[in-house]
Amino acid sequence: MNRHTLFGGAYALAFFAFLFGPLVIMATTAFNSSRFPRVAPWECFTTGWFGELFGNARLMEGLMNSVIIGVGVVALAVPIGLAGALALSELPAKLRSMLYTVLILPILIPGVVLGISTIVLWGQITRGTGAGFLYNGYFLTIVGQITFVSAYAMLVFIARLQRFDATQTEAALDLGATPGQAFRKILLPFMAPAIGSAAFITLLASFENYNTTVFTVLSESTFTTALASKVRHGTDPSLSALAVIIITLTLVGALTNEAYQRRKEAEAGGRASRSPLYANPVTRALTHPGIVFAILVTVIGGITYAGSQYDSSVCEAAVLQEKLDRQEELRAEQRERIEAQEAEQGVTVPKPDSAFGGAFGGVGTPAAPAAPKPESPSAFGGAFGGITAPEVDE
């Protein structure tokens, strides 16, 4: 039995290493001054990439658009999802499973198909009616995303609705409420927590979506599509900085939520209520979700301030100098060798080798000065990338 527990624990550790390893490494690269996101070689600790991130006009504009679209999607997808859940709860079994299949399908249909079908339909409508105002990136993206985002909301509502005791509505009717009153005063308040989580999930889904949005957004861009085009056209650690921000927000949210859940459980009674953490007034206050949140925000605020004051320019200058020196050295070496070769057999132009191609990802090898194969490809490729990496778009 023990052997199995051990194996299970080891497996879980490996699994979560796979889940978090890439994120941790990516986050770490946000603090390395190297122009290419990497951990090794470590050049200088820097917070400059955060500044670079906020200075990216296209991303920031996309962020704005994402917020507008997200609000629109939440405002429509949440009620539609609720309506779907309510409709399913009233239908006889056979029709219910049919409607369920239809409504859940948009989650499974490839996002590109949803995006394409949306622009094709509204393109035709626009052509047919001349209602050109409909054919814009905001409207189409909201419409396209609603198609499947509503299904997420619906799943949340179905789960909540399953726990609703239908006699509550009957009791309200029996006590003289009109059906409308019973709906507003009994069912809606019961659904309220689910409305909150559905709104959150739909907002996240809208914000994150790429496959559909990249078609429907037309010439505009959302945060995610701007991000994607940035990644496709060349990477730099300001994206890692963004990841750091998102991971931090996520952790703050998760921890606050955890504190809230624990407290709720403790208040509902049970084992947690007898925990010494809740008996002592100091620790009890400290575990209040509000306090937890405040502490986290304060700590992060402090770190952010300290980070913004940190100046890595001296170190960076030193590293740059070192690189220039090294490059100079290599050039000198190269010159010597070429001279030696020329002296022997005329001219050769060495080709950039695949190591560089890798360093620049799928971007394609930039017009780089020809260089000979160095003794240590890794160090060289890195140093090279650090200096002459292509300017990322804008």
């Binding site: 005791d165 006590l175 409420a177």
Partner: protein, 367 residues
Amino acid sequence: MPDQTPDRSVLLDHVSIRFGNFTAVDNANLKINSGEFFSFLGPSGCGKTTMLRCISGFSEPTEGKVLIGGKDMAGVGPNKRPTALIFQHLALFPLMTVAENIAFPLEVRGVSKKERRKKADELLEMIALPGIGDKKPGELSGGQKQRVAIARALAVEPDILLLDEPLSALDLKLRQHMRTELRAIQKQVGVTFIYITHDQGEALTMSDRVAVMSRGVIEQVGEPDRIYNRPRSAFVASFVGENNALQGVIKGQSGDLAALETPMGTFEARVGGGRKYKAGDAALLFVRPEQLIPGATENAFHATLTRQEFEGAANHVFAKAGDSELRISMVNAGLAGSLPGQGESLSLGFAPMNGTILPVGHMASDS
């Protein structure tokens, strides 16, 4: 109490309720009087809740009519009927406080907040739970919830209060206490109570009249003692209280009495429901355990004692006669008395008026 009490009667006029081919209530035809405490008693699944939902307006009868206070209720929704229903699981609103729960009927009628609170406090006073208005239902005990549900239903000022097995979730002691309390509340407010239960103790102790139901059919309506002493069908005889049943053949009938031949001998007993039998008809004879008297001379027979169950006030003795086992209830006479021992032969008998002859039909143990 106003001089002119409103008409709080309920008339079920040949009501049948069907779900597809299944008949849940079969031709119920009876009148519940104004101000009466009326119970529907029957095993679970016999259609009691269905009947109640039909009276309160959650469903319409497939056939027949429901009249409340003399008015036909067809097409009148549950929120428009002068009824209030206490649900089997109470259906208190968990997100509202107790006071908000109780005042909900007033809230939906647009009564001001202050007045609502006043009325809620009054009702809490009445159910002897003052000061719990600001708690949530989740913080109350079972008995408290029960009473809050009653207060909430009474806030509607209904003519008819419908109660669907409201005590079934409580423990025994509380259940017995609540019986008295319910009865007292009913007397106080003068509202017609229609009470549903599968527990005959509840039905017999609280009610003015009881309707016994089985398989959607109302088998008998009457005062508790009549239901117990004068059952009109094999089902009622076997469902209400303990009973011994003997199968036999009618030898003859004269007036209220008939002679029935059984494997244990021929017995003379009262004919249930004033029916007429011919010689040779198959019939059942029911005799209550406490009415089988050792040493009685009328309808005497011999039985062999097989086992005993001691219950305090009474002793349940089981004896074999012919091929049937009989149950005999003997009062515990204390140390002064003496009980027969195992394997002993007993002479038993019963008064003809205490035996009931009924036509063969399904029994409580069948359903």
